[in-house]
Amino acid sequence: MQAKAQAHRSVGRSLWWFVVPAAIAYLYVVIVPSAQGVYLSFTNWSSSPKPRTFVGWDNYAALFGGDAGQAAWRTLWLAFVVVVIQNILGLGLALLLNEQIRGRNVLRTIIFAPLVVSSLVVGYLFKYLFGAPGIGGVNSMLNALGLKQVDFLGNPSTAMWIIVVAIVWQFTGSTMVIYLAGLQGVPDDLQEAAALDGATYWQRFWYVTRPLLAPAITVNLMLGLIGGLKIFDQIFAVTAGGPANLTHTISTLLYRYYSQFGQYGKAVALATVLALAVGILSFIQFTVLRRQERAL
């Protein structure tokens, strides 16, 4: 037994240097620049050739005294709303397309398809669909039906919902597919036994299916949260942060500080805030979900 353990340890161990190229690439591209980013967020680093000086918390104070606080809340709101809607729709569709529906594979393929398209393309598509009166697709239909047209993107709060719709349209299919994979692990006889015992559809879902879906729920909530916090393309394409800079999230605001103002120090300060938010929220979510998985 011991010889066996040593034998298989030896191949993996003697090839330890296989890790080196990946470790170098990872340190060079991710770890070192990330650490530099955190450090530079405490400097007045900018596109001007002036020498960099240490400014303490100034960047953070200026950002949160300005538009970053609102953008941070908006980012959280967006991630939360998207995760909730996407998971309700995705789970509903998965349960539906797990039943004996004719041509269900074709339907799955269609609903999953937007995932492979670029988010920028999806953004432009929805920018047209919900475009201004006289221009947008929905408005052209409202007009044809003799209804009042709506300036969806001219108002920051409706504009945020249009962004939610674009994201949900693109990613519900992927949420559904992960739930479908989870449903493969729910044995039919367990369902039938529960049905024979007189459980209704909802009781069977809650007491039989849901506990077995726990890992899929964890994965979907984690992916949705991390993806939602980083959203950039859709906002860039649909509203570009407007109107009146009231639809910026941390990522688009960061790009604005970088490209329009050349204030790199503030841009990396925003990135640091984003990294902290992703880290803390993922940790909380993961801990809570794992505890629930174990409790089941």
Partner: protein
């Protein structure tokens, strides 16, 4: 369980109805792209004057033809590098039980949570100093590093859970060198997870907009999302022409998806279901 006839009808209607709603934006996309510029027929109503002119104009007036080639090169080279680096690294990480190995593995996992926005700007200065800004090599270097944590995580988990040690031992006893064991025994067994890695990384890199927006700005080379952004900026409200360009940009990846849809969906779910 056999659902009742009524339940069956409700289920089919809901399923097909929802799918139709999902298809509606795509229908509008196509319907608009094939109508002449300035045709103001409402979005859902097919135009009476269908034309392919927009596609010809979008193809000749945008930088899409070159951008498609650039995107193919960037995606292929990045995928080769990521897959090679991640497969090599995952093997000892999965097989060795030493503390250093566990620590290194967790070190890579940190990268799953670090938003790339943080490394982006300091790395931008690195690339500028190396003279790589505006060139696709900066993108390939960035992807090769940034996509590693996820790939290493997938391959290591797969090695630990689905690849038994026995084959490696047997090959070792038969006189294979360590590297031969890795190449002839381990790598072929990794095929399913490597497929998942290629699909997920490939879709991500092909569609990525943020990284090229920063690293290719001002250079002559463009990837597809960059070319689209330029084109949309130039023809701001000419939606039929813009939609033709969007459709052209979607053709390569949608074709691949439809041909390999079974593997794509299975690979996606298999890699992520947890």
């Amino acid at each position: 369980m056999k659902p009742s006839r009524a339940a069956n009808i409700v289920m089919h209607t809901t399923a097909y109805g929802t799918t139709a709603i999902f298809l509606l934006p795509v229908y509008v996309l196509i319907n608009l792209a094939i109508r002449p510029t300035g045709d103001l027929t409402p979005a859902l109503i097919p135009s009476s004057r269908a034309t392919l002119d927009n596609f010809i104009n979008a193809w000749t007036q945008s930088s899409l033809p070159g951008a498609i080639v650039t995107s193919v090169i960037v995606t292929v080279l990045s995928l080769l590098t990521i897959t090679a680096l991640a497969t090599m690294a995952a093997y000892p990480l999965a097989r060795s039980t030493s503390q250093l190995s566990t620590l290194t593995f967790y070190g890579f996992l940190i990268g799953l949570l670090l938003p790339f926005q943080l490394a982006l700007l300091p790395l931008f200065i690195q690339m500028r100093d190396l003279g790589l800004l505006g060139s696709i090599w900066s993108l390939i270097i960035v992807y090769a590093g940034a996509q590693l944590p996820f790939s290493i995580f997938l391959i290591t988990s797969f090695l630990r859970s689905a690849v038994p040690h026995d084959f490696e031992e047997a090959a070792r006893i038969d006189g294979c060198s360590n590297i031969e064991v890795f190449w002839h025994i381990v790598v072929p067994l990794l095929r399913p997870v490597l497929g998942t890695c290629l699909i997920l990384n490939g879709v991500g890199i092909w569609n990525d907009f943020f990284t090229p927006l920063i690293y290719l700005a001002g250079g002559g080379q463009l990837t597809i999302p960059m070319a689209l952004q330029q084109f949309v900026g130039r023809y701001a409200s000419n939606w039929p022409l813009i939609f033709a360009s969007l459709l052209i940009s979607m053709i390569p990846i949608l074709t691949l998806y439809l041909v390999f849809q079974r593997y794509v969906i299975r690979g996606f779910a298999g890699g992520l279901k947890g």
